[in-house]
């Protein structure tokens, strides 16, 4: 049964499986996820974009913005930025997302929770659920960190690649010595 499940999951999308293996390592299963955990890699615990939007509208989060982050990140598809009115509201947003993820996986053998950062202070909480990363900030933090500007500007990586191509061109050294150049066979 294990082998059948493993083969079924490994066939469709190998790259995304690697990404999910990276992600699920946080659950304390160790750095490299063994293939026996491949059964739980399926998208049950990880939230989709529609579900995240629904939860955020239920909790009445202000100013929800979705930024497709495929260009910047390989491992995430969407960044969602939401504002809370107070620290308690920000914590509530994070709790609601975790609750939704738990509900989605009711009755499963292993429950995979999305990892949460910044739970102690209510200023900036990040809920990382695989493809979708949700940032819950309060008003001041949003103005301070200014995440939308960071992500909507084009990443200027193309220029550095061209320089690298030029750098690897091989140049024949000039022979200024009085000895004749050795002819390599």
């Amino acid at each position: 049964m294990w082998a059948a499940l493993r083969s079924r999951l490994l066939q469709p999308s190998p790259p995304s499986l690697l990404n999910q293996q990276w992600k699920l390592g946080f659950a304390g299963l160790g750095r490299c996820l063994s293939t026996s955990g491949a059964e739980s890699v399926g998208d049950r615990g990880l939230l989709d974009l529609q579900e995240v939007e629904k939860v955020l509208s239920d909790v009445k989060a202000d100013d929800v913005r979705v930024i497709p982050a495929g260009k910047h990140f390989d491992w995430a598809d969407y960044m969602v930025v939401a504002t809370g009115r107070s620290t308690w509201h920000v914590k509530n947003i994070a709790q609601a997302l975790i609750y939704k993820a738990k509900q989605k996986q009711k009755g499963a053998r292993h429950i995979i929770l999305p990892s949460v950062e910044g739970q102690d202070s209510g200023k900036w909480i990040v809920v990382d659920s695989g493809k979708v990363i949700v940032h819950a900030l309060d008003e001041k933090a949003r103005a301070y960190y200014d995440l939308e500007n960071l992500w909507t500007a084009e990443p200027p990586q193309k220029e550095s690649k061209q320089d690298l191509d030029k750098a690897f061109v091989k140049i024949r050294p000039k022979n200024n010595s009085k000895k004749p150049a050795k002819i390599s066979t």
Binding site: G25, D120, K123, W124, L150
Partner: protein, 101 residues
Amino acid sequence: MCIQALKGKKGARLGETIVVSVKEALPNGKAKKGNVYRAVVVRAAMQRGRCDGSEVKFDDNACVLVDKQGQPIGTRVFGPVPHELRKKNHVKILTLAQHIA
């Protein structure tokens, strides 16, 4: 300058938190000289093994100043940062970074 690693006697590696004191500061920066903060190591010259057997190492040692709750003090992070920060729950630093190695 690093004072000590937060967890463990043998020192901190990539992705771990350390206690630092500021030795040089820009006059209009948020960090003042002589203050003690926490920091997260983002680049280390020591190689770090990855899941798939490859190793990562950088040319310099660098860290990002962080407060006691784990919020980065600055607003942007320059230079490449490795993937390992995601597993150590430093997604905030990853989102502020310009380039992810």
